[in-house]
């Protein structure tokens, strides 16, 4: 059974695509045959983050429309043996996605013996985002420690509960995970940012990890290498932890405390 995981958030720019790239890579590195699909039709990005933009010939919409078969459209990752990328179309828009088409693609991936299918959702709550989550078995909701992002995540959790196939058919609900990204322990310490505990309390979803804010992410994007591949990077280590927790291994949270708190700040700083 291919397990379908949607990476979603509601809000844009919180790190969905970065997370999709790292999670799919992480699972593939663990030996699982993994596909990652870019649902952001019209604003294709995943191929850049994965560094395969020059190899895109066919895309998701071609497959949905039957203009190409899945074998032709899937791009093999340059780093991992088990990872395949299905890019979005840049010239079409989200209306080109149909529920039947997406279902067909997912069914076919299952026949090809994929273990995991990662769906990289576009921002928003419109067609693209809904299509990305419709067939999900699990959802990783990416949220920044900031009120508007948290509210949008809350909204998308509601949509998961109402529009996913599992919800519509009254099956066991989509398993939800919360991933807090762009986390800056220093700013939390200074009371400028919500703590991951605040975010979790607001959303009431089990926490799967906290990814620290880091310049490494930008560097990785520019290189077209998923952040999880970076050497000696907190971000890479944090994503490794997320993969471990996803596979039910016990890992303590890292990178959530600020290391050099002044005594005065401890006495007077908010949280």
């Amino acid at each position: 059974m291919a397990r379908v995981i949607v990476i979603t958030s509601g809000k844009g720019g919180v790190g969905k695509t970065t997370t999709s790239a790292s999670i799919s890579t992480g699972l593939a590195l663990r030996g699982f045959k993994t596909a990652v699909i870019d649902f952001d039709v019209g604003l294709r990005n995943l191929d850049l983050i994965m560094g395969c933009e020059r190899r895109v010939v066919y895309d998701l919409i071609n497959v949905v429309n039957g203009e190409a078969n899945l074998h032709q459209a899937l791009i093999k990752d340059k780093h991992c043996e088990n990872l395949f990328i299905l890019p979005a179309s840049q010239t079409r828009d989200k209306d080109a996605l149909t529920e039947e088409g997406v279902e067909k693609v997912l069914k076919e991936l299952e026949h090809m013996a994929f273990d995991y299918v990662i769906c990289d959702s576009p921002a928003g709550i419109e067609r693209g985002a809904v299509m990305a989550l419709t067939f999900a078995d699990e959802a990783i909701v990416v949220s920044n420690p900031e009120v508007s992002s948290v509210r949008d995540s809350d909204r998308i959790l509601g949509i998961l509960q109402s529009k996913s196939r599992r919800a519509m058919e009254g099956r066991e609900p989509v398993k939800e995970h919360l991933l807090v990204t762009r986390y800056s322990p220093k700013r939390v310490e200074e009371g400028e940012m919500l703590s991951y505990k605040d975010v979790q309390e607001l959303l009431r979803v089990p926490l799967i990890g906290v990814i620290p804010e880091s310049d490494d992410v930008l560097q990785a994007s520019n290189q077209g290498t998923p952040a999880i591949h970076l050497k000696d990077s907190d971000v890479a280590a944090a994503y490794q932890d997320v993969i471990a927790r996803f596979l039910d291994e016990d890992r303590p949270l890292r990178f959530v405390t600020y290391e050099k708190p002044g005594i005065l700040k401890r006495l007077f700083g908010g949280k």
Binding site: I125, R151, D152, D154, R155, L157, G158, I159, Q161, S162, P173, L202, L203, R204
Partner: protein, 262 residues
């Protein structure tokens, strides 16, 4: 096989009493009604979920020459209101309403139906009007029986909406900012009360709102509402609290008091 015994009964008529909503319509100009509905229901076009509704014209400000029933009906249907009939409509407008497919109901509520319920069809002196109060309690009783308490186990998310029709609503996992709960009875929230909570939606002034962690965007009981622009009062913020309506008739005020949890 089962066809034979049913042969004679492809259609069967039985008396039934059902609770319907009444809409007091004070203007017949579709444009003005559309504005009013938009103001009232703005972002919730499916608020009424196809509820059967009687249009009551008793409080009509002035009697127009003619009424554009097509426009009014399509406007109401857009909000999922399902008009089934009219009452207290000025005599001159009866023809139009009948042509628009609306039933003309007697002044005394659904007295027409009252007659259906009584098995032996009453002879001529029907006009002797049954006691005016009779239909109302009967229908509210019916509501209580068919609409038990609605219980929501999962957290209510931003953008989600729940309506406990005819009864109480119990939230076991709280509600987030941007969500909305509506109950014809009371609202009991175990956990965070953060969005909009409207109790007594059909005018029950004895409805209340309870929460173990008070912090809503808006509370309303029987249409009397309050927002919290200046923040939630210290005494109740984040704590157990209840909201009830005090005062009488035209001087209702919302009272928010801490719950004694010890």
């Amino acid at each position: 096989m089962a066809d034979a015994p049913l042969q004679g009964k492809l259609i069967e008529f039985k008396g039934a009493s059902l609770a319907v909503m009444t809409a007091h319509v004070r203007d017949t100009e579709a444009v003005r009604l559309a504005d009013a509905l938009h103001m009232m229901l703005g972002g919730m076009p499916d608020f009424f979920a196809g509820e059967p509704t009687v249009l009551d014209f008793a409080q009509l400000a002035n009697i127009p020459e003619r009424v554009d029933w097509t426009a009014i009906l399509s406007l109401l249907r857009r909000y999922q209101v399902q008009p089934i009939g009219v009452r207290n409509l000025p005599e001159t407008l009866h023809d139009g309403a009948r042509r628009a497919g609306l039933a003309l109901l007697g002044a005394e509520g659904l007295s027409a139906e009252q007659r259906v319920i009584a098995p032996p069809p009453a002879p001529a002196p029907v006009v002797e009007t049954p006691p005016a109060a009779a239909p109302a309690p009967a229908s509210s009783e019916a509501v209580n029986i068919v609409a038990p308490t609605l219980i929501v186990d999962r957290p209510l998310r931003s953008g989600q909406q729940v309506y406990a029709k005819g009864g109480d609503l119990v939230l076991l996992a709280g509600m987030s900012p941007g969500s909305e709960v509506i109950a014809d009875g009371s609202i009991h929230c175990y956990g965070h009360l953060r969005g909009r909570a409207l109790a007594g939606a059909r005018g029950d002034t004895s409805a209340r709102i309870f929460s173990t962690n008070f912090g809503p965007e808006l509370v309303s009981i029987a249409g009397v509402y309050r927002t919290f622009e200046r923040g939630i009062p210290q005494a109740v913020a984040g704590r157990g609290a209840q909201v009830k309506l005090t005062g009488s008739d035209n001087l209702h005020t919302l009272e928010i008091t801490p719950l004694q949890n010890d």
